[in-house]
């Protein structure tokens, strides 16, 4: 366990693992005392220390307030590398561009509640989620175009608007994405899954605004207590998983793992052929996921349009949780171009950054933090301070505290349904096992996770949302 790791307190919500041994930079942990206790239960502090041994890491590596043990890097981990540094697939995760988009609807809460069951049933019927029950069939060439063009591919086919692209991180399309860097196996896996929600911790949720924490920014983000909102949380499906696996294996073959404290930190030097191909393939998976969320949103618009004619369903924003990107950051007064790895972390760019859509550039980007199924979610705004402290990053969600096996032993699907019902949440789920493994109690306290972000200044609270209906794949 991570009890033996020495931590120095920097503030009420920041701790540091000072440099020692093979660390090339310190590790900075964003957590309250309470969340830190959780972190000591698994290997995430040890993994943070291991992250800090990677060549070319800049300033410090970071574990955010929802951090927990992952593959090599902790989930909730951020690390940035200069040109002499590395790219590591474990620093992105298997579910490349697992992310979330949030919609505003202009549909009154009471109107939605009156039709809640039918709407949920129709969404469940329309959006494919289960295995082997994909939707339309696509050709291999179509999938290649999706990998190259991301959300643009969908919009060109009438499955969205240009405004949707403006309100997606990266405009819904990473540029350096060559489908030839993606294996046929990955393509095989992605082909039947385009447009599907997937399962595990992926879900679609209808919500209402429970608490307005920053009225001015709420209004700018289009969040209003009178109307329902929707979150769509999913990633790049089997395509991304295979890309991650392929490149982990490739990098192990080419570079080995003997000099690493943990095999899972396998990496390739920035600028190497392997690194470039991984980035290109990762970008293809990123684009696939953006397009996926765009297509699912389109389906949702169709369904909502059926029940609430005239409803204006808009995209608030779409953010990635698992990605590595080249970004400009200033570190100790020096302008640097860094490869920022965010694994289970959300970009949190503040006012003035050119990457933030024009409509939000004066206030900072929306940061969308879904709670686990059936619990509260949050919207924050990105901050300038995040740029200074965390390479413009903040937490992505609640993070697990209990394993799936434990959950299955202690909780039944009936328990979960009853608790959710009591909380006023209607659920449509594809399987009972999936419900149990995602029960709210197995996750950390999201209120505490976002409070720490706010107090640290890396994401400022805008609104708290509560679920009204959930669809789980």
């Amino acid at each position: 366990m991570s009890d033996e790791i020495h931590l120095e307190k920097v503030s009420e919500v920041e701790w540091e693992i000072p440099m020692s041994g093979r660390m090339v930079v310190p590790a900075r942990i964003f957590a309250s005392e309470r969340l830190l206790k959780d972190m000591k239960e698994d290997r995430c502090l040890e993994q943070s220390r291991n992250m800090a041994t990677l060549r070319g890491a800049v300033k410090y590596v970071i574990a955010l307030s929802d951090a927990h043990q992952g593959y090599g890097f902790p989930i909730g981990g951020v690390a940035a590398f200069g040109q002499d540094g590395v790219v590591s697939p474990g620093g992105v995760g298997y579910d490349i561009n697992c992310g979330v988009r949030m919609l505003s609807t202009g549909i009154a809460v009471k109107d939605f509640m009156a039709k809640r069951s039918e709407v949920l049933r129709e969404i469940f019927r329309t959006i494919p989620s289960g295995v082997g029950k994909g939707g339309r069939e696509y050709s291999r060439d179509e999938i290649r175009h999706v990998m190259e063009r991301g959300s643009e591919w969908a919009v060109e086919r009438g499955l969205g608007t240009r405004e949707d692209l403006d309100r997606t991180e990266e405009g819904g399309r990473m540029r350096e994405a060559d489908p030839r860097d993606v294996s046929e196996r990955a393509l095989d896996r992605g082909l039947p899954q385009l447009g599907t929600l997937g399962s595990g911790n992926h879900f679609l949720e209808v919500q209402s605004v429970d608490r307005i924490l920053n009225p001015a920014v709420c209004a700018r983000f289009g969040l209003d207590q009178r109307y329902v909102n929707l979150m769509i949380h999913c990633g790049s499906r089997g395509l991304g998983h295979q890309v991650a696996s392929d490149y982990i294996k490739l990098m192990e073959r080419e570079f080995g793992t003997a000099d690493l404290p943990d095999r899972e930190l396998v990496n390739a030097p920035i600028g190497s052929d392997e690194a470039n191909r991984y980035i290109s393939a990762m970008n293809c998976a990123v684009n696939f996921a953006f397009c996926n969320r765009q297509m699912i949103m389109h389906q949702v618009r169709q369904v909502l349009g059926k029940f609430f004619p005239g409803a204006r369903v808009s995209l608030v924003y779409d953010v990635c949780h698992n990605v590595a990107k080249f970004e400009n950051h200033e570190v100790d007064g020096r302008k640097m171009r860094l490869c920022v790895h965010r694994k289970g972390a959300t970009r949190s760019f503040g006012p003035g950054r050119p990457e933030v859509p024009a409509c939000y550039r004066d206030i900072g980007q929306p940061v969308i933090i879904p709670g686990s199924m059936g619990t509260a979610s949050y919207v924050l705004a990105g901050t300038v301070k995040a740029g200074e402290m965390t390479f413009g990053s903040t937490a992505h969600g609640a993070g697990r505290v209990e394993s799936r096996t434990q959950a299955r032993r202690q909780i039944t699907a009936e328990d979960v349904m009853r608790d959710l019902k009591r909380a006023g949440v209607e659920v449509s789920a594809f399987s009972k096992k999936g419900l149990v493994e995602e029960a709210p109690g197995v996750y950390k306290d999201i209120d505490e996770v976002v409070r720490v972000s706010h107090e640290a200044g890396i994401g400022s609270l805008v609104a708290r949302l509560k679920p009204l209906a959930v669809m789980k794949g």
Binding site: H68, V131, G132, G238, E264, T405, Q406, F430, S431
Partner: protein, 135 residues
């Protein structure tokens, strides 16, 4: 059952046991099947042969298990059981039986096999394998 699920916060950790290396690989696949679809009984309707390569036993196990995720995603094939398995030099061949995934109600959360904490070793009279699935 010759496998069990071990505690692990975010992912799924499995320990499989068998009298020899081949059987431990087979039980690992059966454990993966349970991680994918729970205790759903899957009919052995269709059979096929799979072959994977790997430079050592860890790589063989990784690639063998990954093949089931591939078959599930790409061909909607859900494993019922592994009926036979042979491990040669850098190569593994297995006969498997399963069914169309579309016929079953389950929700797969397994994203990948990983090398995290992977162990394949002799233990007492037999062999054990341990591995973690990313979910």
């Amino acid at each position: 059952m010759s496998y069990e699920f071990l505690p692990h916060t975010a992912d799924v950790k499995i320990r499989a046991k068998g009298p020899d290396l081949e059987s431990v690989f087979m039980e690992s696949a059966h454990a993966l099947r349970e991680a994918i679809c729970g205790e759903t009984r899957v009919s052995a309707v269709a059979g096929r042969t799979i072959e994977v390569e790997g430079c050592d036993t860890h790589a063989l196990l990784y690639n063998f298990l990954e093949e089931f995720l591939y078959l599930l995603d790409a061909e909607s094939f859900l494993l019922s059981r592994v009926t036979s398995l042979r491990i040669g030099k850098d190569l593994l061949a297995a006969e498997i039986e399963g069914d169309s995934a579309a016929k079953y109600e389950f929700s797969n959360s397994v994203k990948a096999v990983t090398y995290n904490d992977m162990k394949i070793e002799q233990s007492g009279d037999g062999w054990i394998a341990e591995f973690v699935l990313d979910v």
